[in-house]
């Protein structure tokens, strides 16, 4: 007996899988690019949903890991290392280490402090990125070589698209298993009622830190893919605006839902693309739109399609 939710996922996957041939037949390769970009950033949104949606940690510094993942690919390429597996390994491990360091200090705080601290640390990394002139500094760096994998050529836009799609589905699945596991339940319970969790014997800190690290690592993966996608890496990838964008994807789509971050990524990035087509000053429209969505649109878009998981 397959539930409605699974049917929706299957349907969405089929649509996304059919996108490249359709779009190319229509002679609109731009949309392939756009869709791929959305898929890659959706992975970042899924990772943020783990700590933000399920864990209740308002981390305003998640874009840091996009940057770390991207720069890992860029810097390794700069030194002549093109092996894709090494790229991915370094991207994920470096992100995990930085997440562990930032998390270790930040998770001891809560509320407003936590938000400000995560933002501050990400800004620190952003300044680090700007000041290291060797890797382009403020202007960023061009990708010397894409990640090279056997069998799979990322230079082929369609192949790359499918790689991104597969990795997104994998991320969604892995996150789904994690949040329903014992570990995930503690994370969610602690978000729901922290004193109660402490009273039965759960120390919030280790669980939150672990979630923070997993989330950072997954976002690093997204960053590595993003570098391959844009071929150009700038510190702006680590800016607070990028962090805010990721948060909006999670909120807009519906926090603590499996499909929320994906829906949110599509919604936000498509709206941004649409507005950018109208005017170069699209942010003056997006800003108030976002404000209104926060004031009125609390449950997120996922709530429209079905009743999201508890």
């Amino acid at each position: 007996m397959i539930s409605r939710r699974i049917w929706l996922w299957i349907g969405a996957t089929i649509i996304l899988a059919l996108l490249p041939p359709v779009v190319l037949a229509l002679g609109q390769p731009f949309y392939l690019d756009l869709a791929r970009r959305i898929l890659i950033l959706a992975i970042a949104a899924v990772s943020l949903n783990l700590i933000l949606g399920y864990g209740g940690l308002v981390s305003f510094g998640h874009a840091a890991y996009l940057g770390i993942g991207a720069y890992a690919v860029g810097i390794l390429g700069f030194y002549g290392i093109g092996n894709g597996w090494i790229h991915l390994l370094v991207a994920v491990v470096a992100s995990a280490i930085v997440a562990a360091a930032i998390g270790a200090v930040s998770i001891r705080t809560s509320g407003i402090y936590f938000i400000m601290i995560t933002l501050a640390f990400t800004q620190m990394l952003y300044y680090l990125g700007i000041s290291v002139a060797e890797f382009g500094g403020d202007d960023g760096m061009r990708l010397k070589t894409k990640s090279q994998f056997p069998l799979v050529d990322l230079k082929d836009p369609v192949v790359f698209y499918y790689v991104a799609l597969v990795l997104l589905l994998l991320s969604v699945f892995v996150t789904y298993r994690i949040v329903n596991s014992r570990f995930g339940m503690v994370l969610r319970a602690t978000k729901s009622n922290e004193p109660r969790s402490r009273a039965i014997g759960f120390s919030p800190y280790p669980y939150r830190l672990a979630a923070f690290v997993i989330s950072g690592a997954m976002c690093g993966l997204s960053g590595a893919l993003y570098a391959n996608h844009t071929n150009y890496i700038t510190p702006n990838l680590m800016s607070w605006q990028q962090s805010g964008d990721l948060m909006f994807m999670v909120i807009l789509g519906g926090m603590a839902t499996t499909s929320g971050p994906v829906i949110g990524a599509f919604a936000l990035l498509l709206v941004e693309d649409l507005l950018a087509g109208w005017t170069q000053h699209w942010q003056v429209i997006l800003g108030p739109l976002l404000i209104l969505s926060v004031i009125f649109f609390r449950r997120g878009l996922a709530g429209i399609f079905y009743n999201p998981d508890a």
Binding site: S181, F183, V186, S192, N193, P195, R198, A199, I200
Partner: protein, 244 residues
């Protein structure tokens, strides 16, 4: 089981706990009573591990736990229920208890679904049966009646297989019938557990307690068996005065 020595806690100029010394024996049900403002909540907070005393010590089962934070005390077998209901409102009754069982098991996992795990669900169901909530297993906790939520509080404390149960006004806000049922349940429970019971409901206190300590202005003014407490002059003046 629990040795409290010269426990002191100040909030600025207010001495909320004033040199409390108390020993809870293995297997007894020890009630702590006192008028409002006596410092019961502060005392519970320090026993549970939410508040750090300024002076004094707490020894639990022979071990000094004074500096131990609440989660670690809970893992050592000190369970508590909250005076103001504090449950996981979005989870079902069964899931609430299952989480407590999981906490006691000390095992975690990253892949297999927690709420499909029989090793968690089976003990949880047994506890719900003991407490009398098994028919409401799959009801979302927020939709339980107030009395049922208080029962859930106790169930969660029990699910961690505690050596000592700290019950903070379990009957708070309950009607007569619900209170009677809770008292009946606690009567069966007290045979198997060491319990510290903080309560205002005097009926419950005198029926359940093996010994009673009376807390006034942060100090224990008397510790004795219920009959002697009833007759104690100081206690009557401070607390029972209007009623008796």
């Amino acid at each position: 089981m629990l040795e409290i020595r010269a426990l002191t806690k100040n909030f600025g100029a207010l001495r909320a706990t004033d040199g409390v010394t108390l020993t809870i024996e293995d297997g007894e049900t020890h009630a702590i009573i006192g008028p409002n403002g006596a410092g019961k909540t502060t005392l519970i907070g320090q026993l549970a591990g939410d508040l750090r005393p300024d002076a004094g010590s707490i020894r639990f089962a022979g071990e000094d736990v004074t500096a131990l934070p609440a989660p670690r005390r809970a893992r050592r077998g000190l369970a508590r229920s909250f005076q103001i209901t504090s449950i996981y409102r979005e989870f079902t009754t069964l899931q609430n208890v299952a989480l407590a069982v999981q906490a006691a098991s000390g095992r975690t996992g990253f892949w297999r679904p927690a709420f499909a795990d029989e090793s968690l669900l089976f003990p949880a169901k047994k506890i719900l049966e003991e407490v009398g909530l098994e028919k409401r297993m799959h009801v979302v906790a927020a939709n339980l009646s107030h009395g049922e939520q208080r029962q859930l509080e106790v169930a969660m404390a029990l699910a961690t297989r505690p050596r000592l149960l700290l019950l903070d006004e379990p009957m708070a806000g309950m009607g007569i019938e619900e209170s009677q049922r809770m008292i009946a349940f606690l009567s069966t429970l007290k045979r198997k557990q060491t319990i510290i019971l903080v309560e205002h409901d005097m009926d419950a206190v005198f029926r359940l307690a093996d010994r009673i300590s009376v807390l006034v202005y942060g100090r224990v003014i008397a510790t004795d068996v219920p009959e002697k407490i009833k007759l104690n002059e100081e206690v009557r003046r401070a607390y029972l005065g209007e009623e008796s």
